[in-house]
Amino acid sequence: MNAEFVALVSAVLKVPADAVSAELSPKTCKSWDSLATVNLVVTLEQHYKRVFSINELAEMSSVGAIWKLVSGLE
């Protein structure tokens, strides 16, 4: 995961950058609720100038899964 992506996730989820790992998910992150999910999706869509499909959103179960999707856009 690159620093730019980690910084975005860190800011939205309100966790330190060094706590952003591929395994981080709503199950393991207390601040990752439904509002954080929506904010994360909106932030990523704006930053990467790409609208995610509902099928892609359904696959965003962890930071690692999100990075896999996002890194394919770069």
């Binding site: 199950k27 609720d33 439904s34 999910t37 929506v38 999706v41 509902i54 099928n55 959103l57 359904a58």
Partner: protein, 204 residues
Amino acid sequence: MNEDMRNDNAFPIAGAYAVGRTVYFRYPTDADAVGAWHHWFNSPDVTRNLVAHYWPNTPEDQLAYVREVRKSRQRLLLSIIDRSSGAHIGVGSLGSIDYVNRRAEVSLVIGERNYRDGFRALECLSMLTEIGLCKLNLNKLVATSLAISTAGLQLDTLLGYRECGRWHEHAFVDGKYVDCVLLEMFQRDWFNSPKRPKSLFLAD
């Protein structure tokens, strides 16, 4: 075979009405009604952002509601099942279905706290929207959300629902009146939306 065993051989998941990647919808059973479901509508963290539900909810009340609604063609009520665990995690519905003016009201409750990660809600709302606007060929769906329910409003907006009005001081929450925001989605917009599921049977 009891009523709850109907459609066990249906493709691709027993009893499924629509299947997404993380959840599927099926008809609500009597067991659903007297299970976790009736507890959700007694829980303040579920009912806080709902416009109704002020009275205690009993298993008998929930069962009577489900049995009544199952007979109705003005409300399509569906149980939401998490695909990975098989748990009944919430309910979604299309209510006040008007076949002349081709509109309905969409609503969604994820009752189980552990599944309120936003992703399931997004997929559920997308599936309900697809059912309403494609399967039932309605022209418009309307969603309502209390203005204080930021997550609910943003979720609707992310899927492309647009604010079309507001009922001022519509609900009394935590000692003060709050507005209720009305949002709408037209069939023509949904059909061009990237948030539209490719199929209502994503059984992979």
